[in-house]
């Protein structure tokens, strides 16, 4: 009987607490719960930071800053809202601030990439490699404002819907769609200008 009862009590390993439950445990002083939360959200936070910032070391620093802010502000989290929306809002705020302060320095990286890529013959057949796509993205996305880029990344790479992005940024859905439309247009213009070999793909298919 006692053994059966023991079997019914969930052990720590068998129970996967959801985000809200983890937050509740952290509020009660459980540092281990915070470590679990950080481990669970690291890829998500770092991934978004990396896509928006375009530099792994800066993205790592910004991600750590996000988690530190998360720790400081956890009392303010309202559990009636999705935890990921709240977390994304924190990430985008910190990343956009960082991008705004660092935008001028990124121009140097940008020009280096352009020199490498423009050496490709526009007429040659292009076989696209994923690493190249990443380089092209880092180069052409610098024409976007930090907010446009963040929206573009959340929509195209994180697959968030416009309504979800609007919740994260605290703006209207129409504003998000507007930013997205402008971002795509600017990216295509830049692609044609700086990477004509890839821009041909658009022209051929349309």
């Amino acid at each position: 009987m006692a053994a059966e009862v023991l079997r019914m009590i969930p052990t720590k390993e068998s129970v996967e607490l959801d985000d809200r439950q983890l937050v509740e445990q952290i509020r009660q002083g459980d540092d281990g719960a915070f470590e679990t939360l950080v481990r669970r959200k690291t890829s998500k936070v770092y991934g978004l930071c990396y896509r928006v910032i375009g530099n792994s070391e800066d993205a790592k620093d910004i991600s750590q800053l996000v988690f530190l802010k998360l720790w400081e502000n956890l009392e303010k989290y309202d559990a009636t809202y999705a935890f990921d929306t709240w977390l994304y809002r924190m990430v985008t705020n910190v990343a956009i601030d960082f991008m705004r302060s660092k935008q001028s320095r990124d121009n140097a990286v940008n020009s280096n990439l352009r020199l490498v890529k423009t050496s490709v013959d526009p007429e040659q057949t292009v076989t696209v490699a994923r690493k190249e796509v990443e380089s092209v993205f880092n180069a052409v996305s610098n024409v976007l404002s930090p907010k446009q880029k963040t929206i573009f990344v959340m929509s195209e790479m994180e697959d968030l819907r416009s309504s979800e992005i609007a919740k994260v940024l605290g703006c209207r859905e129409s504003t998000v769609r507007n930013h997205l439309f402008n971002a795509r247009k600017l990216m295509q213009t830049q692609l044609k200008k700086r990477f004509p070999e890839y821009a041909r793909l658009w022209e051929e298919s349309r």
């Binding site: 991600s63 530190l68 696209v128 993205f137 790479m157 793909l201 298919s205």
Partner: protein, 169 residues
């Protein structure tokens, strides 16, 4: 797991669902084809993968937790009840009012303590006694005493001429 054949057969422009995107993001062989069908998939192919910070997740989590501990240690060393600006103003106003009140109370309890007034009244009195000495009787063999006649009143004017008398008498 979606096959490349299924992906290439079913991919439509502007209609990439989650499963299609998952295949696109994992399969390099289908990347070229996908872009020829829908160029907007060019950058969408980047998403989806689990990115790991430099040094790995364990090191990253360790760094975050150390920063949290440092932050907590700093917070515990900081004053527990930080005084806000308006509280500082209130404290300053209270101290100022207290000092003013104490000064007024002291002055009320010690009204004689006005040194300027004492000097002003004391000085003429001292001067009068020192320079205008009063002589009731006078006796000398060398002096010439002249009594001025008056008009029947009690007042008498007496003039004394004596070389031994002080000049200011």
């Amino acid at each position: 797991m979606m096959t490349c054949h299924y992906f290439r057969t079913n991919l439509q422009p502007g209609n990439a669902d989650a499963a299609m995107l998952e295949h696109l993001r994992r399969c390099d062989a289908c990347l070229d084809f996908a872009m020829s069908v829908d160029p907007d998939l060019f950058f969408r192919s980047l998403g989806g993968e689990e990115l790991v910070p430099p040094g790995g997740i364990d090191a990253f989590v360790g760094d975050v937790m150390s920063q949290v501990r440092v932050h907590d240690a700093e917070a515990s060393l900081a004053p527990r009840h930080a005084v806000s600006a308006w509280q500082r103003w209130a404290i300053a106003a209270t101290v100022a009012a207290g000092v003013t009140g104490a000064t007024l109370a002291y002055r009320y309890e010690h009204p004689a303590s006005q040194p300027v007034h004492i000097i002003a009244t004391a000085r003429p009195r001292a001067t009068a006694t020192a320079t205008k000495s009063f002589v009731e009787t006078y006796s000398s063999h060398d002096a010439t005493i002249v009594e001025m006649p008056s008009d029947g009143s009690d007042t008498k004017v007496v003039m004394i001429f004596d070389d031994k008398l002080p000049a200011d008498l």
